[in-house]
Symmetry: C2
Subunit: 226 residues, 2 copies
DNA sequence: CACGGGTCGATACGCTGTATCGGGAGAGAC
DNA sequence: GTCTCTCCCGATACAGCGTATCGACCCGTG
């Protein structure tokens, strides 16, 4: 059915030519605001005022978009410092800081090999600052720190989310899990676990992260300082 | 969030009574065979010869099912050994072995806090075998090993998948990525990275995993042996 | 025999990623 | 100026997802 009187086209804010960068930034904004589940091609496209299929001119698949998001965030990760230990510590800390700004990173880090320019540049920063240490040590050391960071961040973000969720309805959580946990621990079934929960240290997230990182760096030290 | 206590099974007459365990096993079989994406409630239900909505009598949500799968696999992870170092080494190795049998574990490990009975039992095994080490060290040490293992496994499985995918059409991969990588590395843009790729050691997956693990355990040692 | 409650499965809804294809706009030829 | 060809954009479509809803059926009870 024809609408004879066409509405005045709402003069668009700015044509702002679509680009891969704009797409990736829009996706990151969505993920920062509402989590990774909120990133759908339809929503990204809508945020840019275009149809979903437009995006396929710039990205081949949704997984591509996720890879591009990860690479884009790696631009924020540029370790600094003097000496191998400071550099690796900085790599770990800046990666963690990026994950705090972009919690969805915890879901993607380590999930697929990354070869984007920013990711490579991060590696380059690390490796170039570690001259003096022999290659046979550098490679496994950097790998180990990366692995630790990925796992530590994942667990930290997972805990943070659980706390947030249970804070939102703590009542519900206590009702369903409280009795089960309490009974299980009081059971005598897990005595060592119960002791740890009861008497163990209660480190916060920063302390836990740094403690583990320092274990790792302490273990690398003898080989790095020949 | 899972309710770990099973609801009373509505006692079924017919051929093979549906149960939470049967559902979880079917889901694990599907995931082992075709990856985590192949686990949909519809497919799990179909594998059990049942309508999709039947599952909701045993499981509140799909995330619950994933949590249950992770907990079920933790039954395979029972570290052994004498002394803290052997125990932690065993924890890492058996976890990794489980991830080799169930690659989808790499996608789920660390993704959410786990409180299931098998997961708790794994922790209990570790903690109970580490008596003699003071609690102030045990907690961060176990956390660190867990974090490292999660990250290392993720990366290892991600690489394995990428290799498999690129092996299936190596031609395609070389065409799209080869030139870009070669040009980028020959660029002079990433000299340190190029040196490492060219001259660095080429460790296999086992060596890389053990090297990082030993760094970590070496770093823990001074505090564990007081 | 009638009824009431509870369970099971069909149907439905809104959402996803992506393939397909018709139409319209722009460029080029005469 | 007009006709035609080409190419790109966006609408539509499809198969699948997790899960809410609800009607029908079965079973135990009065």
């Amino acid at each position: 059915m024809v609408v004879w009187e066409q509405p005045e086209p709402p003069d668009r804010p700015a044509p702002a030519p679509l680009s891969r960068d704009r797409i990736v930034r829009a996706a990151i904004d969505l993920a920062d605001a509402d989590g990774l589940d909120a990133v759908s091609l339809r929503k990204v496209a809508a945020a840019l005022g275009v149809g979903p299929m437009r995006l396929y001119g710039y990205i081949a698949t949704k997984e591509d978009l996720l890879d591009l998001m990860v690479d884009a965030v790696h631009a924020e990760i540029r370790p600094t410092g003097d000496g191998w230990r400071e550099v690796l510590h900085s790599l770990a800390s800046t990666t963690r800081a990026a994950a705090h700004r972009h919690e969805w990173l915890a879901d993607l880090l380590g999930g697929r090999p990354q070869l984007g320019p920013n990711t490579l540049a991060t590696s380059e920063s690390v490796l170039s600052a570690m001259d003096g240490v022999d290659l046979g040590t550098v490679v496994p050391a950097v790998s180990a720190v990366n692995a630790y960071v990925i796992g530590a961040i994942r667990r930290e973000i997972a805990e943070r989310r659980a706390e947030r969720a249970s804070g939102m309805d703590k009542r519900q959580w206590q009702v369903t899990h409280g009795p089960y946990l309490q009974r299980t621990l009081a059971n005598g079934q897990f005595p060592a676990l119960a002791t740890v929960v009861h008497d163990g240290p209660h480190l916060n997230a920063d302390e836990t992260f740094l403690a583990g990182l320092n274990f790792l760096l302490d273990g690398i030290a003898p080989r790095a300082t020949h």
